[in-house]
């Protein structure tokens, strides 16, 4: 694992991702309308918003899963909108999916090796003759893949078919597959869905390391505010297809329109949770607790 520690993200640097005036219509439905999004290199940028706001659609446009109706998308200053998905990927964009999409009939390790596809370069005929160059590259790829599996916490599932993994493990494997090729930009669509708070905390750690150790810029969609507040450098709020607000976590939390449209009066924000913790303290030893198999 390369131990590159990056300088802290600065808004002054040229943006890594720059989305301008992005719109997408599906027939009569305007899923996104004129969305701007600027992501600084090395940052973790969260996109939040109510269900159906258009968050996933933004990701889909960036990764060329769908073609935007209008607008431009630049990665490192280069236009990537409208390019075929594999070309976008080769520019250094990787993603995960809201409804996990692994290769169900392949093992964990194989999934990750496919993720490494674009970093491998030895041509097929060398594989036939198993040239030293091929063997070296293959061995290195496997080693890297195992390391990433370890990194994502699913190394013990290297040999399991993805179809047979529990939901949470599928999510982690998907992340591993996305980062193994060392993309510039990683798009995570609700990575914490299906994870309990403790697992969510582990995920936060994982994303931090992805940024710190692999130097990958992360944009994530998430509904778990704990996760968002814990790692996001900046947050963009989308509502009904348009940007509602943009700012630091603190700014967003204080924004009335955001609270009205999305957060509501909830208790899952760190402040609330802290309060909860306090009230819970000492309540652990209640009576009647039955340890079936302690």
């Amino acid at each position: 694992m390369p131990e590159t520690s990056l300088p802290p993200p600065s808004s002054a640097a040229a943006p890594l991702l720059e989305v301008r005036g992005l719109s997408k219509r599906f027939g009569g439905v305007a899923a996104i309308r004129d969305v701007d999004l600027t992501v600084a290199p090395g940052s973790v940028h969260a996109v939040i918003g109510p269900n159906g706001a258009g968050k996933t659609s933004v990701f889909n446009c960036i990764s060329s899963f769908v073609q935007p109706t209008s607008g431009t998308i630049r990665l490192d200053g280069e236009r990537i909108d409208g390019l075929p998905a594999h070309v976008v990927a080769r520019h250094g964009v990787a993603r995960t999916y809201q409804n996990v999409r692994l290769f169900p009939g392949m093992t964990g390790l194989e999934n990750v090796l496919v993720g490494a596809h674009r970093t491998l370069s030895v041509p097929g005929w060398q594989a036939v003759f198993a040239t030293p160059r091929f063997r070296r590259e293959e061995a290195a790829a496997r080693e890297k893949a195992m390391a990433i599996l370890e990194f994502a916490g699913v190394a013990h599932h290297a040999g399991t078919l993805a179809r047979h993994l529990a939901y949470g493990d599928q999510r982690r494997l998907e992340i591993a597959r996305a980062v193994v090729a060392g993309p510039k930009l990683l798009l995570l669509d609700e990575p914490a869905a299906g994870m309990n708070p403790a697992e969510g905390a582990g995920l936060v750690e994982l994303i931090r390391r992805i940024r710190a150790e692999l130097g990958i810029t992360v944009v994530l969609i998430e509904h778990h505010m704990r996760v968002v507040m814990a790692i996001a450098d900046r947050i963009t709020v989308i509502d009904r297809g348009a940007v509602l607000a943009e700012g630091t976590p603190a700014e967003i939390q204080a924004d009335d329109s955001v609270i009205a449209a999305y957060l509501g009066t909830r208790r899952d924000t760190p402040a609330e949770a802290a309060a909860e913790d306090a009230s819970d303290a000492g309540a652990g030893a209640k009576t009647g607790m039955k340890a079936v198999r302690a």
């Binding site: 998905a85 594999h86 990787a94 290769f103 596809h117 491998l120 090729a181």
Partner: protein
């Protein structure tokens, strides 16, 4: 038939009936099967061929087997439901009786009702064949049919309930081995004829195995099975037939069989090897990349016609080069045609791709056959007088020699596919098969990867076509039917999709068997169809599934 088959995670289970009702049901189904067997004319046809010379014809064995199996299954059900063995055997007899009754009804209908205007095989010859020496259509004959049915059913039942497990296995295996020995008379006879002293004539008569050798063989197999079981060795069947020994045996068979048997067996082996070549090509397309290709035969045709045009002495020849020059040309041309075909159709997915490729395959066949291209390709008259390959001054003429040529090619191709499968491109293929969109989002160019799969697969088929052309010495458009593509597909699935040894086993079973059964002429494809169904029922995952398939099936 897109590769990503829809499945349910739950099984549909049939609720089992009470043993008596079940016996009746089984008996009737078996009875209908027996009647159909007779009425399609199979009985009369198979009656001419003996399993045990002068004792039991294939027809008789088949009918008896139907009654026996009916009895066996009924008794096994009764057993499971906790009935006493006596009752189980009785029920089994009942099931057998039902079979006999169905046949008796058929005999009555045939002799009295003139059903022959519709059912052409309901002939006097059939009734005669079923008589056991009694008068056709007499009450004696009816009684005999019923009694034989009951008896056979009861024997089947007894086998299921009264005979101890080990002995039962041994007996069943013994019977199978004897039938096998009778069925493949030609193979074993030709092996035996290598032995001195006319052993061949001692073991085999003109139509089947002789009685005493059959009994000896049966006894030997039974004894061997019991002894082995007593020695505590797991039978090969239970270890999945894939012990080291069985692999060594398989390889040895593959290597020497054509030498110790007849030209015919070598010829069949040769065809098997050709289909292996094609199978491995399609395996790349379908097994790995998930591209259903029903026009695969087109590439085979390209290979064959290339060699024909380059190596023929006929009027259409465009060159007269040696096979060794033509072979690589054929392979390259096939690969190129794979590219050309692939280009337009590869944005098409799943069943649409199946149909598009089927269409392309048919287009090629029709074009090759057409009067329009006849001046170049010979149209329906084909291309004749293709030279055999010459190696170090020796012309490879016999099927056995050509077999080794095909085998070497198949080996090379197997090696290449195996290596590709475990490299970057192989993983890309699998990924595309599993989820094309996601694969693309990971930087895999789906069209390029599919094209590689297409042209590698096509190249393999082209090699097969090249050998085919020199094997037959002529090429005709009628050899490139849709059926060939379907056959190759069936080989893959029966062998186990995505598995290289599976291709070998699949080709042996699906090409070897029907070729060996050529003498059953008009019933050959009927049996072939039944075999396809039966094999898929016994092993839905294929005879020798790929590792990943086995993993998947583990939880199903």
């Amino acid at each position: 038939m897109s590769f990503n088959v829809v499945t349910s995670s739950f099984r549909v289970v049939r609720r089992e009936r009470e043993a008596g009702a079940e016996a009746l049901r089984i008996g009737l189904i078996a009875g209908v099967a027996a009647v159909l067997f007779c009425l399609i004319g199979a009985y009369v046809a198979l009656d001419k061929r003996d399993v045990v010379e002068g004792v039991a014809s294939f027809a008789a064995v088949a009918l008896a087997a139907i009654a026996l199996v009916a009895g066996y299954t009924s008794a096994a059900t009764a057993n499971r439901q906790g009935r006493t063995p006596r009752r189980a055997v009785l029920l089994a007899g009942g099931a057998g009786l039902a079979v006999g009754a169905c046949l008796a009804l058929m005999v009555l209908a045939t002799t009295n009702l003139g059903i022959r205007t519709i059912l052409v095989a309901a002939s006097p010859a059939l009734v005669r064949a079923l008589t056991f020496g009694t008068t056709a259509g007499s009450s004696g004959q009816i009684f005999l049919l019923l009694a034989a049915g009951f008896g056979l059913g009861a024997i089947g039942g007894a086998l299921a309930t009264l005979v101890p497990e080990r002995l039962r296995r041994a007996i069943i295996r013994g019977v199978f081995v004897v039938i096998f020995a009778g069925l493949f008379r030609d193979v074993f006879f030709s092996i035996a004829s290598n032995l001195p002293g006319g052993v061949d004539r001692m073991i085999y008569g003109s139509a089947g195995i002789r009685l005493w050798p059959a009994i000896l063989l049966f006894a030997a197999v039974v004894a061997w099975t019991i002894l082995r079981a007593a020695a505590g060795k797991p039978s090969a069947a239970r270890t999945g037939g894939r012990s080291k020994l069985s692999i060594v045996l398989l390889v040895a068979t593959v290597l020497v069989l054509p030498l110790i048997t007849s030209d015919f067996v070598a010829q069949v082996a040769m065809l098997v090897a050709l289909y292996m070549l094609m199978g491995m090509g399609l395996n790349i397309e379908l097994g790995l990349a998930g591209l259903v290709d029903l026009g695969f035969v087109a590439f085979f045709a390209v290979g064959a016609y290339t060699v024909a045009l380059l190596c023929s002495n006929g009027p259409l020849a465009i060159a007269d080069v040696s096979f060794w020059v033509a072979l690589p040309v054929a392979i390259v041309l096939a690969a190129v045609s794979g590219l050309v075909f692939g280009l337009p159709v590869l944005r098409v997915r799943g069943d649409y791709l199946a149909m598009a490729t089927l269409g392309l395959g048919e287009i090629v066949r029709v074009l090759v056959l057409s009067d329009a291209l006849a001046p170049v390709l010979g149209g329906s008259q084909g291309i004749i007088e293709i030279d055999r390959p010459v190696l170090a001054g020796i012309s490879l003429n016999t099927p056995a020699e050509l077999y080794y040529l095909a085998l070497i090619l198949a080996g090379a191709v197997a090696f290449i596919s195996w290596r590709l499968q475990h490299a970057r491109i192989g993983r890309a293929w699998l990924a595309i098969r599993e989820d094309e969109d996601v694969a693309q989002a990971l930087g895999i160019d789906p069209v390029a990867s599919k094209l590689v799969a297409y042209s590698v697969g096509a190249a393999f088929a082209g090699a097969a076509g090249a050998v085919f052309a020199v094997l037959v010495g002529s090429v005709f458009p009628h050899s490139f039917q849709l059926l060939v593509s379907i056959n190759v597909l069936a080989i893959l699935v029966i062998g186990g999709l995505g598995s290289l040894p599976g291709v070998l086993v699949g080709a042996m079973v699906l090409i070897g068997l029907p070729e060996l059964l050529r003498e059953f002429g008009e019933f050959r494809y009927l049996f072939y169809g039944v075999a396809l169904v039966a094999m898929m029922h016994i092993r839905p995952e294929g005879l020798w599934p790929a590792e990943s398939t086995k993993r998947e099936m583990a939880d199903a």
